[in-house]
């Protein structure tokens, strides 16, 4: 072995060690500051973690773009969806009077809210765009109560990291981190364009997460759970989306 190649070997070895060590340190820091998404395993974990971490660092306090009333898409598109189940139809027959949003998990006061209760809280509206991962989009006025208002009412515990939310369709649930959950534009939406929220757009209650793609805005919300770990939900990937091959974080 010549001197040159030995030197190269030593430098290369040191560089590799330093690289692995700094990756380890970066992973620890990222874990601590909540920069690692639940679907970070597997071959796409590298890109997914970079996307989620950089978005969390860049967009922690940013607001989704809002539009003028004249920019609202008319008519609003109601995306195709699976047929509504019997539980939904029963509640629909009763005019959704018995629709409940139950909130459990790491909260001080677990509660169940009726639509009337939710509507009695400060009413907020936003004109934002909903974009589908397929490529289409529309703009609508969304009316509802900020999720943070409801979370403040039940009192989230300090260890809480995620809010898991469930549709009345048992195969449809998702989760967001506390940064998105407490975001002022994350709504429990019950109205659209000055009216009730149409069934096709998720009525009577939809979680609206405007800084992420449409599939994070789950329709027909009946249940929320506040948690510090997503391991116990489904396959532990954070939502049904990664189980079907889609990213948990949909900010891009």
């Amino acid at each position: 072995m010549t001197d040159l190649s030995r030197r190269k070997l030593i430098i290369g070895g040191l560089a590799a060690t330093a690289g692995v060590a700094s990756l380890g340190v970066a992973a620890r820091i990222a874990q601590k500051y909540g920069l690692i998404p639940p679907d970070h395993g597997g071959i796409y974990g590298f890109g997914e973690t970079l996307t989620y971490a950089s978005h969390r660092l860049l967009t922690r306090h940013s607001l989704a773009r809002e539009f003028s009333e004249s920019q609202i898409s008319r008519p609003p598109l109601a995306n195709e969806m699976p047929p509504l189940n019997n539980a939904y139809k029963r509640l629909q027959a009763g005019g959704f009077a018995d629709w409940r949003l139950t909130v459990t998990g790491m909260v001080d006061r677990p509660a169940a809210f009726s639509l009337a209760q939710l509507k009695s809280y400060p009413r907020r509206s936003q004109i934002t765009q909903i974009a589908c991962e397929e490529g289409w989009s529309y703009i609508a006025e969304w009316i509802g109560v900020p999720l943070s208002h409801v979370l403040d009412l039940v009192g989230i515990q300090p260890r809480a990291k995620y809010v898991v939310y469930f549709s009345i369709d048992p195969d449809w649930w998702d989760s967001i981190d506390m940064s998105d959950a407490m975001h002022p534009q994350t709504f429990l939406a019950y109205g659209m364009n000055g009216d009730e929220l149409p069934i096709g757009n998720g009525g009577p209650l939809r979680l609206r997460v405007p800084r992420q793609l449409g599939y994070k805005s789950v329709k027909f919300i009946t249940h929320l759970t506040v948690t510090d770990s997503l391991k116990g939900f489904g396959k532990g990937l954070g939502s049904v989306e990664p189980e079907a091959g889609y990213a948990w974080y949909a900010g891009i």
Binding site: G47, E80, E134, G135, S137, Q212
Partner: protein
């Protein structure tokens, strides 16, 4: 290696810029030489970029298939008039394509791989551009010489391309002016534009940097521009590969893989004409 290829020419002698016409020896006999052509960094970043581009292209097409309609402005969906449609079947039944069937949905892994390849190609591109500034690669190999930008120099190169002339031996050692300009265009115009229009489609990214999308006229405009920039990049790829075939597929591939060029080189010729 055959013995005749032994003469190692120092790197400085074969890099492009020196327009020296002074022959290094008095001999006019062509000699076969093995000489460094592309640096390791150029080769590695070239092939990583190639792999990422192909991954981005395939996954991008898969994503487009789920909604093969393009719009201008902020919004667009099946209820609005498209700017244009691609007449192919869709992977989603929402889109009225005129075909009686839908293709398998491949968006999940396509989106995962698209963004992963995007990260890798952006990081690779940054490494390449930053090092190109510091190593002189940009100045020596990419920026055209003043003489090349004269009308005569430029038209000579264009004319020889139009005649489909096999490039002279000299061109194996340096990029000609058309090559330089198209590489610069890809690196400093198309590449930033494809990244920008991609980010402009991200609802989270534009919440922090709204001007990235408003300056393009809206999210759907960004998607449409992203599509056209892709077409420009594919055209570049096709011409790039065609030119390599014209110039000598084996020697150019060898140069980009091993970094070495084996070619006949008359010592007396000027390196760039």
């Amino acid at each position: 290696m055959p013995g005749s290829e032994s003469a190692q020419v120092p790197l400085a002698a074969c890099v492009a810029s020196s327009a020296s016409t002074v022959p290094s020896t008095a001999s006019t006999v062509p000699v076969r030489t093995v000489t460094p052509r592309h640096s390791a960094l150029v080769r590695i970043t070239h092939w990583i970029t190639t792999l990422c581009f192909l991954a981005l292209l395939v996954t991008g097409m898969e994503i487009v298939i789920s909604h093969p309609r393009f719009y201008w402005g902020e919004t667009g969906n099946v209820l609005t008039t498209p700017l244009f449609k691609i007449p192919i079947p869709s992977s989603r039944s929402l889109v009225p394509t005129g075909y009686g069937y839908v293709l398998p949905d491949q968006n999940g892994w396509s989106r995962y791989l698209h963004f992963q390849a995007a990260w890798i190609v952006v990081l690779t591109g940054l490494l390449y551009v930053i090092s190109a500034f510091f190593t002189g690669h940009l100045r020596k190999d990419l920026l055209p010489a003043e003489s090349d930008l004269s009308w005569r120099g430029f038209s000579n190169t264009v004319a020889s391309h139009l005649r489909f002339e096999r490039p002279s031996e000299a061109e194996a050692w340096s990029y000609n002016v058309l090559q330089r300009l198209s590489y610069l265009f890809v690196i400093f115009v198309l590449f930033p534009l494809i990244v920008w229009t991609g980010l402009a489609m991200s609802p989270a990214f534009v919440s922090a940097f709204p001007v990235t999308v408003t300056s393009l006229g809206g999210q759907q405009s960004a998607r449409t521009i992203h599509f056209f920039v892709t077409i420009a990049l594919v055209l570049f790829l096709l011409v790039h590969v065609a030119m390599i075939c014209v110039a000598g597929f084996k020697s150019r591939m060898r140069a980009m893989i091993t970094g070495r060029m084996i070619a006949r080189r008359a010592d007396t010729h000027t390196e760039r004409t």
